[in-house]
Symmetry: C2
Subunit: 358 residues, 2 copies
């Protein structure tokens, strides 16, 4: 039924559809729905405490006993730089004044949590079928414990070099994240965003470079994209932004409205929200203060300075300071219940494959 | 045999493979080979005089009587800006000194020629099956004459907005040029290169937005890419960089060697060679002086200042100052005679379509 069963057999799922882990926007309900429909659902943990991760996995396991992907960021904890933080906040001073915010009251905080000992302990205990990482891999000792627990491991590559590195370091499958993808670039061996390959270029080159199954990601939003990903040699397709349109997505009305109005040519990579390049719908702070600023604090420290501006603007119904994460194909999103959308992807892909061979 | 016959029937070709027009690198032999193999060959005229265009079409017609695409740039002739030119040359002073070049001896010149009255007269006389444009469309009077002569017209869109504009202005088919594509971006309603959609995002969104047949371009380099383009809803696939590997391509040994060593993550859009963003393999002048410089003269005037540096460096066997045009999928290029490569694309695509439906 599917042309390449390697990834399906590796993780024990029926259909080559993965839900992109989306920290802050994915929900246990969304993850459970995709897994139960025969794809691979996910729980994104970068913004969750270990208690929240435990609870999230618990909710999903109440809804489905099918395989699940639990995803972590693996950035190095940043070294705080008071001078850089102060300069960054100073550069935002006009915005603070506009919203009547006293910047001295803004707490510093991590914004995103990396995979650590406690998270590793939890994975060893809960043993989800898949544990995946973004920004490379965790330290070897933690990575080995996850593998020894029997979990299938994956990580994202944004270049052929990163894919080879991941294969050499023992992952079981590679997500080829094309430059169209929404949210954070998984890049970890390069910081040249201008040279990041698009999905169409990246997928076949990674397929040729590694022996592992490759999952395509970036601008896959409907059945056409699923078939195109398979045609390029991917074993499966990972879909993020299109699932944000679904009922179970954990996004507020501002992000949802922005996605519904999205265009192909109105996204950009930006570092102003977290300190690392991530793709979102262009808004005021990206246009005025970025989209890439050389002054943004190290990831994820940049998060705290923007947060009160986001809250104040959102309270007025504005997404001017919100990270409106989106890939370049949001305009293809349709929504509905995630189970229905997943089935539409599967049936649509089958029909399209038959149509191509006609 | 092919899922969508609209473009094939429109221009009277057998297979959905187009040779990207590549000014300076395409040759009549290359164009003839692709047309004769059942695809649509092209002659890129942006760097040719009308006499050279006439001669080129003549050579192709000696080799094949099948349909041909004759392609033109349609930029507005630039207004020379002496101060800007002087500042640009001053910024290159260290390079001129390095190569012992006296910049006062560098002739100013247009670099690329736009479609004009004389070119239009020639098209009306020669009546190639297809006349295509890059950077929008020529002035209405000239465009209408081409259409009245019976030529099928095409132009490139880099966004949905540009595709809609082209449809509204009467073209017969639209090339969806994803950001991975090598050479000049066809962009004409936007100058935001950071927001340019990748092929995977752009093609289905343009397919949904217009009624015309859509040709996918950008990172299509093998049979996998052809099938993926068709899966995304394209009527055909346009291939450039991969044809530069073929025997008939008009590139020198430096460009050829650079393409053979190409990687997925070593290209960038640059304006230092001509004044407009175009994708090429990263080299010294792009890294040191760009890749995008706000000081480059208006397209195509930037061409003249770099030219003597290119010549001097190439004389020493270096591509440090050469426009090494390439898309992001050059590493997939294989070469051989263009007719053989075209047949491999066709046979490979058919096999892959059958494999997908299995």
């Amino acid at each position: 039924m599917w042309p390449d069963r390697r990834f399906l057999d590796l993780v024990g799922i029926e259909h080559p559809i993965l839900l992109s882990p989306m920290a802050g926007s994915g929900t246990p309900d969304l993850g459970a729905a995709v897994s139960e429909a025969g794809g691979l659902g996910s729980l994104a943990c970068a913004m969750l405490t270990t208690d929240q991760i435990r609870a999230g996995v618990g909710v999903i396991r109440q809804r489905t006993d099918k395989p699940l992907n639990v995803n972590f960021f693996v950035h190095k904890p940043p070294v705080a730089d008071a001078a850089r933080e102060a300069a960054w906040r100073k550069s935002l001073a006009a915005y603070y004044a506009e919203f009547g915010i006293d910047p001295s009251t803004i707490p510093e905080g991590p914004g995103r949590l990396p995979f650590d000992e406690a998270a590793c302990d939890l994975m060893v205990e809960l043993k989800p079928k898949v544990v995946s990482f973004h920004f490379g891999l965790p330290e070897k000792r933690l990575f080995e414990r996850v593998k020894e627990a029997g979990c299938v491991t994956m990580s994202s590559a944004t270049t052929v070099e990163e894919a080879r590195w991941l294969e050499d370091h023992g992952v079981d499958a590679i997500i080829a994240q094309g430059s169209e993808a929404g949210g954070h670039r998984g890049m970890f061996l390069t910081d040249d965003i201008a040279a990041q390959p698009g999905t169409f270029a990246l997928v076949p080159q990674i397929v040729d470079a590694v022996k592992l199954p490759v999952i395509a990601a970036g601008a896959i939003a409907d059945a056409r994209g699923v078939v195109a990903a398979l045609a390029l040699g991917a074993s499966a397709a990972q879909i993020g932004t299109a699932y944000l349109f679904c009922d179970e997505a954990g996004i507020g009305p501002i992000h949802r409205a922005a996605l519904k109005a999205a265009r192909d040519d109105q996204t950009s990579l930006t570092n102003v929200f977290t300190g690392r390049p991530a793709r979102g719908l262009l808004n005021r702070v990206m246009r005025e203060h970025g989209p890439i600023s050389p002054h943004a604090p190290e990831f994820p420290l940049a998060t705290s300075a923007i947060q009160p501006l986001r809250s104040a603007a959102e309270a007025k119904g504005s997404g001017d300071f919100s990270p409106l994460w989106s890939g370049q194909a949001a305009a293809l999103g349709r929504g509905g219940p995630a189970a229905t959308f997943t089935r539409e992807l599967i049936e649509g892909a089958r029909e399209r494959m038959k149509m191509l061979a006609r």
